[in-house]
C-alpha cells in the first residue's frame, strides 16, 4: 500500500536514461539526475538534429523526471509531446518511446493501456528493465499479482537497481513480508545514486515504518529525506502524519500547511482537514474539506481516474452511497486488494455489510499486514455480529496503533 506511488515514481525515474555522448555529463547507471542543464543539452542537440528519435526519448524521460521532482506539470505535457515526436520519427522498433508512454499512462491510472504499451516495448526489447518496470506496476495495479511476480523477478534479474528493489519491497509488503520489504528498501537506498531516488527510498522506508507502528523511526527517515529537499510536499505531508500520531500536533499542522501550500494534493488536504478538526479548528477544517471537493471535481473533469481516492474520502465523511458508487466504478475497472477494501468499506458505510464481507475477505487474500484492511473487515464483522470481529480489530490495532485506522479500531474494540 505504501509503495503504490513509489513504484510509479521509480518507474518513471528509469524510463529512458540519457544517451551517451559528449554533450550531457555522464549519467550513473541507475537513474540519471535530471537538472535543467542536462535538459538544456538534450534540447540543444534536438535543435540541431531534430530527427534524432533516441534523444527525443531521452528528453521525454528528462521532462518526466523533472515534472516529478518539481511537480511542475509543464514538464509533464512536454514529456508526452517528446515521446510522441520520437514515435512519429521512428514508428517501428521504438521501445523507448513505448515505455515512456506506458509510464505516462500508468501515472494517469490507465493501467490497461500501460500494460499493453509495456508489452509492446518488451516485444521489441525483452531486456528493457524500464519496460519491465512499467509492466510490473500495471500488473500490480490491475490485481494480477502472479504475473506481476514473474515480471518483477525478471526485472530484478535483468537489472538490480533502486527501481527494481523498490518494487520488490512493495511486492513483499503486499504479501505481508514486512521485514523483507524493509530490507529491500534499505538495499534500494544503498543503490540510490541520485538525490531523487534517495528521497523516494527514504520516504517509503518512513511510510513502511509508520504503517507498522513505528512513527519515531518514520520521522527519522522523513527528516533525512527533507534534508535533501527541505520543501518536498510529499515528505512534509508524510512527516505531518507521523508527527500527529506522536502527539506533535502543532508541528504536524505546520508540515501540512507547507505541503498543501506547495502542492494541494487532495489526500493531504483531507488529512490536514481531519487534523484541523481534531485540533478544534472546525472552520479551517471545513475550508480544507471544500478544497478537497474542488480538487476532486477538477481531477474528474480532467479525465483522471480518482474513484478509489474519492471512495475513501466519501466513506470517511459518511456518504455511503457516493462512496459505493465511486468504489464500484473503480472495482469494475480492476479488482485489486485495494479496490476490494475500498468497496467493502464503502458498502459498510452504506449499511450493506452482507455484501461488504466477501470484499473485505478478498482484500486480505494476500495476507497483507494492512491495518486499514483489518480495521474495515473488523467493522463489517462487528456489524454482522460475528465473534471474529474482536480478533480482527485487535489485529488492526496491533499492526499500527498510531494510524487513524488503528485508533479507530481501538475505539471500536472498546465499544464492542
Amino acid at each position: 500500500m505504501v509503495a503504490g506511488l513509489a513504484v510509479t515514481l521509480f518507474s518513471i525515474s528509469t524510463v529512458v536514461a540519457q544517451p551517451r555522448g559528449l554533450l550531457p555529463a555522464d549519467a550513473p547507471v541507475v537513474a540519471a539526475p535530471v537538472d535543467p542543464t542536462g535538459m538544456t543539452a538534450l534540447q540543444a542537440r534536438l535543435e540541431r538534429v531534430p530527427g534524432d528519435w533516441t534523444t527525443w526519448n531521452a528528453l521525454g524521460d528528462a521532462y518526466l523526471r523533472q515534472s516529478i521532482a518539481t511537480a511542475d506539470p509543464g514538464y509533464y505535457s512536454r514529456a508526452e509531446g517528446a515521446f510522441a515526436r520520437s514515435l512519429e520519427l521512428r514508428p517501428e522498433d521504438n521501445d523507448g518511446a513505448l515505455t515512456g508512454q506506458g509510464a505516462l499512462a500508468g501515472s494517469r491510472h490507465d493501467f490497461g493501456t500501460a500494460l499493453s504499451l509495456a508489452q509492446r516495448a518488451l516485444d521489441i526489447n525483452p531486456y528493457s528493465a524500464a519496460a519491465l518496470g512499467v509492466q510490473v506496476d500495471a500488473l500490480v495495479e490491475l490485481g494480477q499479482y502472479e504475473e506481476a511476480e514473474r515480471a518483477l523477478q525478471r526485472m530484478l534479474d535483468v537489472k538490480p537497481s533502486t527501481a527494481s528493489l523498490a518494487r520488490a519491497s512493495y511486492y513483499r509488503e503486499l504479501h505481508g513480508d514486512i521485514s523483507g520489504a524493509r530490507l529491500a528498501l534499505e538495499d534500494a537506498l544503498a543503490f540510490a545514486s541520485v538525490e531523487s531516488d534517495k528521497m523516494f527510498a527514504l520516504q517509503y522506508l518512513g511510510e513502511l515504518a509508520f504503517a507498522h507502528g513505528d512513527p519515531t523511526a518514520a520521522v527519522q527517515h522523513y527528516d533525512a529525506g527533507l534534508r535533501l529537499r527541505p520543501d518536498d510536499p510529499a515528505l512534509l505531508a508524510a512527516r505531518a502524519e507521523a508527527r500527529a500520531a506522536l502527539g506533535q500536533v502543532a508541528g504536524a499542522l505546520e508540515d501540512y500547511e507547507n505541503s498543501v501550500a506547495r502542492l494541494p494534493d487532495p489526500g493531504h488536504l483531507a488529512e490536514y482537514a481531519t487534523l484541523l478538526a481534531a485540533a478544534g479548528r472546525a472552520e479551517e477544517a471545513q475550508q480544507q474539506q471544500q478544497l478537497v471537493r474542488t480538487v476532486y471535481r477538477l481531477l474528474q473533469e480532467g479525465g483522471s481516474a480518482v474513484d478509489l481516492e474519492l471512495a475513501y474520502y466519501e466513506a470517511g465523511l459518511g456518504n455511503g452511497d457516493a462512496a459505493v458508487a465511486a468504489a464500484q466504478r473503480e472495482y469494475d475497472r480492476r479488482a485489486t486488494v485495494h479496490t476490494e477494501d475500498a468497496l467493502a468499506y464503502a458498502l459498510h458505510v452504506a449499511g450493506r455489510d452482507e455484501e461488504a464481507l466477501p470484499h473485505a475477505l478478498a482484500a486480505e487474500r494476500l495476507s497483507s499486514q494492512n491495518g486499514a484492511f483489518a480495521y474495515h473487515r473488523g467493522l463489517i464483522e462487528a456489524a454482522l455480529g460475528m465473534p471474529e470481529a474482536r480478533a480482527t480489530l485487535q489485529r488492526a490495532v496491533d499492526i499500527n496503533p498510531y494510524s487513524t485506522d488503528g485508533v479507530a479500531a481501538a475505539a471500536a474494540l472498546a465499544a464492542l
Binding site: 503504490g4 529512458v16 534540447q43 505535457s77 525483452p126 531486456y127
Partner: protein
C-alpha cells in the same frame, strides 16, 4: 479515517496527469499552479512595473476562502483583496539601482475572476508599481521576485526601456505569454522560471528584443563555423538522404574540416611552426597534413565506435585523455628540438645560416589552444594502456565473449546483456537505455576495421617510436641532421590530429543514431580531408616563407639584431613548443581532475 491508500494514490502524480487531459483548461500549466509575469519599463526618471499573478483553479479556491468565505466575492471584496495582495507583492519584489534598493509605490491594483475548468473561477491579480530612480546616466539595475515562491508555476520577467537603453539584457522585452494569457507549448524549451535579472542601462532608445536574441559570438569566424556546423547537423538529421543532400553534406564536412584546422587548438599550429622552423620542404608539409588526416579520421571513428559500444566510456574523458597524449607528444618533440637547438648554439658556426623561426606566429595560436582546448573536463586519468584497453574491449565484444572479464566490471556487465540482445534483434535495444544510440545499426564491421588501426597506432607510438619511421628518414634526400627528423613530423601530425573535432564526432554519432553509419564515416573522412588540405596549405606557405627568408639571409647582409634573433630563436621556439606540450598535459591532468 482516510486510509493510507487514499494518501498514496491521490498524489501529485495524479494532479500532474489531469493536465494534458484537459486541453480546454484556462491553465495548460496545471490547475494548481500560481503563475507570475513581471514587466519592467525603465525610463530616465522611474521604473514602471506591471506584475500579473495568475492563480489557477485550486490556488484560487484556496485564496477565495480568505477573500469571500461564501465563495462568491463581490467587487468590494475583490478590490480590497487586490490592494492587500499588491502590498504583499511589492514587499517581495526587490529592485536595486547601482546596488541601492529603491522603494515601490502602488499605482493601481486589480483582481478579476476569470472562468476556468469545471466552471471554477481563477484569479488574475494585476499590480502597477512605480519606483523613482535616476537612470539618466549609465547604471546597473538588478531585480528579484520572491513573491509566493512555494507553489509551482510559470515565472517570467520582461524588461523594456523608454528613453533608457538596456545593455545586453538577459530577459526579453516582450512577454512570451501575452502576460500569462497564452502559454507556449514548445517541446524544446522548458517552462520559464525566471526570478531575477541584472542588466546595465544607459540613456538612449531600447531597440533590441532583449534576451530572445541569441547572443552572438564575438568571433565572426567561429560563428560562421558554428552556423555551418548546425547546417550540417540539420542535413544529416532530417528527412531523406538524397544524392544531392548527401553531396552537399560531404562538401560541408570538407569545409568544416578546413575550419577546424584553422581554429586554434591542440598543437596544430605548433606543428606548423615546427615544420617551418626545421628546414622543412614541401614534401614535409604534405606528410604532416596526411598524418593529421589519418590520425584524426581514425581517432574520430575509434572514439565514435567506442562510445557507441560502451556505456561506461565518457566522451569527454576520452577527449581529455587524448589531449594529454597530444600534449605529451608535443612536449617530447619540443624536448628534442630544444636539445638540437642547444647543440647548434654550442656549435656556434651553424647559427650563421640558421633561420629565425617564426616563434610568434606559431606560438600565439598554439597558446590559445592551451586555453581553449575542449579536452579538459574529466576525472580519473586512465593510462595510455588503459586507453588502449578500452578500444580493445569494444572490439572483443563484437565477436566473442572471452575477453570480457579482463577489463572493468561495468563493461562486462553492460555488455553481457547487450550482447544477447544484439543477437536477437540486430539493433539497439539493450536493457540499459544508455546505449541506445550506439548499439544497433549493425556497424560492427566498420568498428573492427577501426580497431585494427587503433591497435597499430597505440602500440607504435607507445613502444616503437624509432622503428616505424626510421626507414622513411633514411630515404629522405638532403640528409637532415636534426632531432627526430621525419619522426618528429609524423609525431607532430599525430599530436595535431589526435584530439578529434567534437563536431565531427557529433556528426558521426548522429549518423549512427539515425542508422546511416556508412554515411557518417564518409563525413568524418571528408572532415579529415578538409583538415589535411588546410594544414598542408599552411605548411607549404610557411615552407615558402622560410625559403625566402633563408635566401635573404644568405644573399644580403642582415642587420646584427636580426642575426641575434636568428641565434636565439631556435632555443626560444623549442622551449615554447616544450612548454605548450607540458601545458596541454597539465591542463588535461590537473584541471580535469
Amino acid at each position: 479515517m482516510l486510509g493510507r491508500a487514499a494518501a498514496v494514490v491521490a498524489t501529485g502524480a495524479v494532479l500532474l496527469l489531469a493536465v494534458p487531459a484537459s486541453p480546454a483548461s484556462a491553465h495548460p500549466l496545471g490547475n494548481f499552479t500560481v503563475n507570475h509575469a513581471d514587466h519592467l519599463l525603465f525610463t530616465p526618471e522611474a521604473v514602471l512595473l506591471t506584475a500579473v499573478v495568475d492563480r489557477a483553479e485550486i490556488p484560487t479556491a484556496q485564496t477565495l476562502q480568505q477573500i469571500a468565505p461564501d465563495g462568491t466575492p463581490d467587487a468590494g471584496q475583490l478590490a480590497s483583496a487586490a490592494a492587500d495582495q499588491c502590498t504583499d507583492l511589492a514587499g517581495d519584489l526587490r529592485l536595486t539601482v547601482d546596488g541601492a534598493p529603491v522603494a515601490w509605490t502602488i499605482q493601481a491594483t486589480g483582481l478579476d475572476t476569470v472562468p476556468g475548468a469545471a466552471n471554477l473561477p481563477t484569479l488574475r491579480l494585476t499590480c502597477d508599481l512605480r519606483a523613482e530612480a535616476d537612470l539618466s546616466a549609465p547604471a546597473t539595475v538588478a531585480f528579484t521576485d520572491d513573491h509566493l515562491d512555494g507553489p509551482v508555476g510559470w515565472r517570467e520577467i520582461t524588461a523594456d526601456g523608454d528613453g533608457v537603453r538596456l545593455v545586453d539584457s538577459p530577459v526579453p522585452a516582450e512577454s512570451p505569454t501575452d502576460q500569462l494569457r497564452s502559454y507556449p507549448e514548445d517541446l524544446l524549451s522548458s517552462p520559464v522560471d525566471v526570478r531575477s535579472f541584472e542588466a546595465a542601462t544607459e540613456p538612449g532608445e531600447n531597440t533590441g528584443d532583449g534576451g530572445t536574441v541569441a547572443p552572438r559570438s564575438s568571433d565572426p569566424f567561429a560563428s560562421a563555423m558554428a552556423a555551418l556546423d548546425r547546417r550540417l547537423q540539420e542535413m544529416i538529421g532530417d528527412g531523406d538522404l538524397t544524392p544531392l543532400v548527401g553531396g552537399l553534406a560531404l562538401a560541408l564536412a570538407v569545409l568544416l574540416g578546413c575550419g577546424h584546422a584553422l581554429l586554434p587548438g591542440h598543437g596544430k599550429t605548433v606543428m606548423a611552426a615546427y615544420l617551418a622552423g626545421r628546414a622543412g620542404r614541401p614534401r614535409d608539409a604534405v606528410t604532416v597534413g596526411a598524418t593529421v588526416t589519418v590520425t584524426h579520421t581514425v581517432g574520430v571513428l575509434l572514439l565514435g565506435a567506442a562510445l557507441s559500444l560502451s556505456s561506461a566510456l565518457a566522451g569527454d574523458q576520452v577527449l581529455r585523455w587524448l589531449g594529454v597524449v597530444s600534449g605529451l607528444l608535443v612536449a617530447v618533440i619540443g624536448g628534442f628540438m630544444l636539445r638540437g637547438a642547444l647543440r647548434s648554439r654550442t656549435d656556434g658556426a651553424a647559427s650563421a645560416d640558421r633561420l629565425p623561426e617564426p616563434a610568434l606566429a606559431a606560438g600565439v595560436p598554439a597558446l590559445s589552444g592551451v586555453s581553449r582546448g575542449p579536452s579538459a573536463v574529466v576525472h580519473d586519468p586512465p593510462t595510455l594502456d588503459g586507453h588502449g584497453h578500452k578500444h580493445d574491449h569494444g572490439h572483443d565484444h563484437g565477436h566473442d565473449h572471452d575477453h570480457g572479464h579482463d577489463h572493468d566490471h561495468d563493461h562486462g556487465h553492460d555488455h553481457d546483456h547487450d550482447h544477447g540482445h544484439d543477437h536477437d534483434h540486430g539493433h539497439d535495444h539493450d536493457h540499459d537505455h544508455d546505449h541506445d544510440h550506439d548499439h544497433d545499426h549493425g556497424h560492427d564491421h566498420d568498428h573492427d576495421h577501426d580497431h585494427d588501426h587503433g591497435h597499430d597506432h597505440e602500440h607504435e607510438h607507445g613502444h616503437g617510436r624509432g622503428a616505424w619511421w626510421s626507414g622513411v628518414h633514411q630515404h629522405g634526400p638532403g640528409g637532415h641532421t636534426h632531432g627526430p627528423g621525419r619522426g618528429g613530423l609524423v609525431g607532430m601530425g599525430i599530436a595535431g590530429g589526435l584530439v578529434p573535432s567534437p563536431s565531427a564526432l557529433i556528426v558521426l554519432l548522429a549518423s549512427i543514431g539515425l542508422g546511416r553509419t556508412v554515411f557518417g564515416v564518409l563525413l568524418v573522412i571528408a572532415y579529415g580531408l578538409g583538415m589535411a588540405a588546410t594544414l598542408t596549405a599552411v605548411g607549404l606557405a610557411l615552407v615558402g616563407l622560410r625559403a625566402r627568408l633563408d635566401h635573404r639571409l644568405a644573399t644580403r647582409r642582415a642587420p646584427g639584431w636580426l642575426r641575434g634573433v636568428a641565434r636565439t630563436a631556435p632555443v626560444v621556439t623549442a622551449s615554447f613548443v616544450l612548454l605548450v606540450g607540458l601545458g596541454l598535459m597539465a591542463r588535461g591532468v590537473v584541471l580535469g581532475a
